[in-house]
Amino acid sequence: MDTSPPHETPDGHDASSAAHELLNQEGERDLLDEPVLPLLGLSGGTLAAVFFGGALGTLARYLLEAHHQTGSGGFPWVTLLVNLTGSLAIGFLVPLTEHAAPRAPLLRPLVLVGFLGGWTTYSTLAVEATLLGKNGDLTTCLAYLVATVVGGLALVVLGHAAGRKVMSS
């Protein structure tokens, strides 16, 4: 990881956010905000927030998947929807939560790391791509991967731009 905090881009920042970043350089190696417990490295409050957010996000995805099952060889619409909305949300919420983080330190662990991490999935993406390939549906497999990657990255950028616009207005 870089020494600069990877949760926010350094370009175009004002002095106060630069100072905030400097203050937090020690602890902010990922989307979490603080280093504490010697063994685990994260406080009990942070881990509890990640747990509850992760449980909620996973439950929401499970209920959606259970009610909209993709048949064998079909296009994995549900996982695509889950992952694309997760990309849009994380892009939008990173700038939105940036200045709230010092006042509400559990917000990012709860929403960004917990909920969005539980809501989105890479393992299902990998297994679905494998099964599509194994069944010979190479076109569907490729379309699925391109839609996830290109769509996901585009939506992070879009969400991030929107989030910054909201914050600067």
Partner: protein, 130 residues
């Protein structure tokens, strides 16, 4: 994948497993990040690769050895789903591009796909042999 239809008890188990997976992910990414100086998010890659391996094993066991839908729901959809993440991975790629690490962004995105699909395929292939 066909996981069992949700009863309240099963849904609760899936949620708890998802929470446990998310905590494991946060701890691993945090500790691996502390030990590395280069910008590549290796922690997320290790989490997503290992989660894909486990879900591949479960999927293969369900396909070839009759593993029940309840196990697939709790350990597969819950634990593996809570553990692995697409949102963080896509954010990290965009962050790499924004900070001038374009080559790393491409390596990270394509590398993650190759590693995770490779892990899932190897695990499913393994279950077909046993």
């Amino acid at each position: 994948m066909s996981a069992s239809s949700p009863t309240l008890g099963l849904a609760l188990l899936v949620a708890v497993a998802g929470g446990v997976g998310a905590v494991l992910r946060a701890l691993l990414i945090h500790h691996i990040g502390l030990r590395r100086a280069d910008p590549l998010p290796v922690g997320t890659l290790i989490v997503n690769g290992s989660g894909s391996l486990l879900l591949g094993l479960l999927t293969g066991l369900a396909l070839y050895h009759g593993l029940g839908g309840r196990y697939l729901a709790v350990v597969g959809v819950g634990l593996c789903g809570g553990y692995t993440t697409w949102s963080t991975a896509s954010w990290e790629t965009v962050h790499l591009m924004h900070t001038g690490h374009r080559a790393e962004a491409v390596v990270y995105t394509l590398g993650s796909l190759v590693v995770c699909i490779g892990c899932a395929a190897a695990a499913i292939g393994f279950t077909a042999l046993i």
